[in-house]
């Protein structure tokens, strides 16, 4: 335990926490630090601290006494609030497996004080292999300048360039030193191949090497090619980044990069991949990034939960911000939270046949853990419980509109994933048929432009036996963008 921590901080809960939450947090911590699974004195000490914290806080009398002694300390309040919406208010007693959907909405409770949002550090890891030569690297250069113009002058930026080896082009520098940064950018020359791990490692070292800031740390990878053989090393590195609350975002330029690999790499840290087909895409990304820097509330966010026996999570999507299919491993990395911007997740659960004596089924009972930016990076937990009573034998045909809308778009995205997989395995006829269905659904949603793009790609498959140059990525990122509830608002 760090000296001066309160029992609340030890258990990583707010001082308003309920008895149930205290118990949950205690079980969690006790399991984590239990001497049986952690040899060594340090773990033992922590375990005892957790015990003591629970003993005090679980007894209402002792807790009241204790609260008086810490009155003068800063309060630790919950900074986020979780809202749950399920596709059905009850679970019907069915003799077969069924699906229930839930939307989890997380919003931050406090308003940001602009001046107090701490400075951050963005590390750009840029591919300088031969293929980046010319227009691509020029586009990157131009947009980095755009980025530094948008950031606050205390925010820091660092740049790594890599091909088959990595170089530190720019050590962490406040963005107000514009000229110095520009000078460095002009020195980038392109040659050689792409070895991603080396670039990422250099970036990670740079982020870890400097003293911990109260602000955010982010690693942004820009690449246009495949990496060979070091994928697993990259995943391992991403896991380390996640454990330190650093988000990795991946930007793929052109048509030759491996979207499945970059998606997974970014997902491990709670980030996602973005497809850059033209300068405007990068501009939009930079704009969104610099906006998000000012409203970042928490990072290193993850979700962990348990379900009733047999209940399984079949998919988790983040609908907002940064639409992506999240990793299915627990704890689930969720990335960051923002002020003024809800984070929305959609979870799909499969529920096994309900037995006669089951009265209640817990789909997910757990917590979201986050690290507040600013406040000494205080770690906090917020608890949620998605449990539904068993009632009736009829499936709800009228789910909440939000769930239906999200699912209609997710189903298109998932069909697109299937079509892409079919193309990869050479099952072209099936893929063409599926693209037909996708375009039908897109027309129904009124998205004529995307529907026509899908038809074009189906034609291309028929004629040339393959997608147009970057067709698969256009479809993937195009249909993924649809899922965001924000796109509609932006268009209308």
């Amino acid at each position: 335990m760090k000296s001066g921590e309160t029992w609340y901080e030890v258990l990583e809960i707010s001082d308003q926490a309920s008895a149930v939450e205290i118990r949950q947090a205690y079980y969690e911590k006790a399991r984590h630090y239990h001497p049986d699974s952690n040899p060594g004195d340090l773990a033992k000490e922590w375990f005892l601290q957790v015990q003591q914290a629970y003993e005090t806080l679980s007894d209402p009398e002792k807790r009241k006494e204790y609260d008086k002694t810490i009155q003068n300390r800063k309060e630790v309040k919950d900074q986020v609030d979780v809202n749950v919406l399920t596709s059905s208010e009850t679970i019907p007693r069915l003799t077969e497996t069924q699906i229930i959907y839930a939307i989890l909405e997380v919003k931050t409770l406090k308003k940001p004080e602009r001046t107090k949002v701490p400075q951050g550090h963005i590390c750009l890891v840029i591919d300088r292999s031969t293929s980046m030569k010319g227009a691509r690297i020029a586009m990157v250069r131009e947009n980095i300048i755009l980025l530094i113009n948008h950031l606050r002058k205390n925010d820091q930026i660092s740049i790594i360039t890599f091909n088959d080896k990595a170089d530190i082009l720019l050590t962490p520098t406040p963005v107000e030193q514009v000229n110095e940064i520009k000078e460095k950018l002009d020195q980038i020359t392109c040659s050689g191949s792409t070895e991603l791990y080396k670039g990422l490692k250099a970036g990670a070292d740079l982020l870890w090497g400097k003293p911990a800031t109260k602000g955010f740390n982010q690693l942004i990878l820009l690449t246009d090619g495949h990496t060979y053989g070091d994928e697993n090393a990259c995943y391992e590195l991403a896991k380390k980044l996640q454990s330190r609350g650093i988000k990795l975002s991946a930007l793929g330029i052109g048509n030759e990069w491996n979207d499945i690999f970059l998606d997974k790499l970014a997902n491990i840290t709670g980030g996602n991949s973005t497809f850059i087909s033209k300068t405007e895409d990068l501009k939009t990304y930079i704009k969104d990034l610099s906006d998000s820097v000012l409203v970042r509330a928490a990072e290193g966010v993850s979700m962990d939960y348990q379900s009733s026996p047999g209940v399984e999570t079949s998919s988790i999507f983040r609908l907002q911000p940064e639409v992506t299919a999240l990793l299915m491993e627990k704890p689930v990395p969720l990335g960051e939270f923002y002020y003024h911007k809800k984070s929305i997740f959609l979870l799909a659960f499969t529920v096994p046949p309900v037995s006669e004596d089951q009265k209640n089924i817990s789909l997910a009972n757990g917590k979201i853990r986050y690290e507040l930016l600013g406040l000494d990076k205080q770690k906090m937990n917020v608890f949620f419980d998605i449990s539904l009573p068993v009632e009736g034998t009829k499936v709800n045909e009228n789910p909440p509109r939000e769930i239906l809308e999200a699912l209609s778009k997710i189903s298109i995205y998932q069909m697109q994933e299937k079509a892409n997989a079919e193309v990869r395995t050479g099952n072209l006829d099936q893929a063409i048929e599926r693209l037909g269905s996708i375009s039908t659904q897109l027309f129904k949603l009124g998205n004529i432009e995307m529907a026509q793009k899908v038809i074009q790609e189906a034609e291309s498959l028929k004629k040339d036996k393959k997608y147009s140059m970057d067709g698969d990525k256009q479809l993937k990122y195009g249909t993924r963008a649809l899922i965001s509830p924000e796109t509609e608002k932006r268009e209308s």
Binding site: S87, S88, P92, L94, E96, T97, Q98, I99, I100, Y101, T350, V351, V395, E397, N398, P399, I403, L404, L407, S408, S411, I412, Q414, M415, K418, R434, S437, I438, T440, Q441
Partner: protein
Amino acid sequence: MIVCPNCHNKELPGAYFCSECGTQLNSLDFLQTCVINKPPEILTGMGTSSQQVIGRRAIARQKDPNISLHLVESGKVIHLSDKKDFSLGRAVEGQSLLPDVDLSPYDAFSQGVSRMHASLRIVNGDVYVTDLGSSNGTRVNGQKIVSHIEYSINHGDLITLGKMKLQVLLVR
């Protein structure tokens, strides 16, 4: 299990969209349609087309229409009568189930009309078309319809069976 009406893929109960073809699976029976009566003063000033629609609806509730099919290519008109439900298709010798309206004299085979292609149904004065799972599909005013689901049609609508174009004429 739920079976998708469009592609017959099986989904778990509780699913709202077919994972194979994206068709929405939950029935919308819980939705109730209702007639909104607007006072006449709101209508004045609105476009004439909306008035026509309201006029047509008003007649529709009174009386079932007589359906005629205008074959666009040959210019011929087929009158349908006496029934509330007509199947359209192509009669083939030896087939046990024959369509009510046989289109084979009008070159239906080469235009890709199935033996049992689509049906027309009159309900409370409104006319609906359903594709019966035909090989080449059915379109209403150029828009492909999902098979086994009823679509409402109006006077003058163009139905395409395979490649055969039929204009629906409703005489009240």
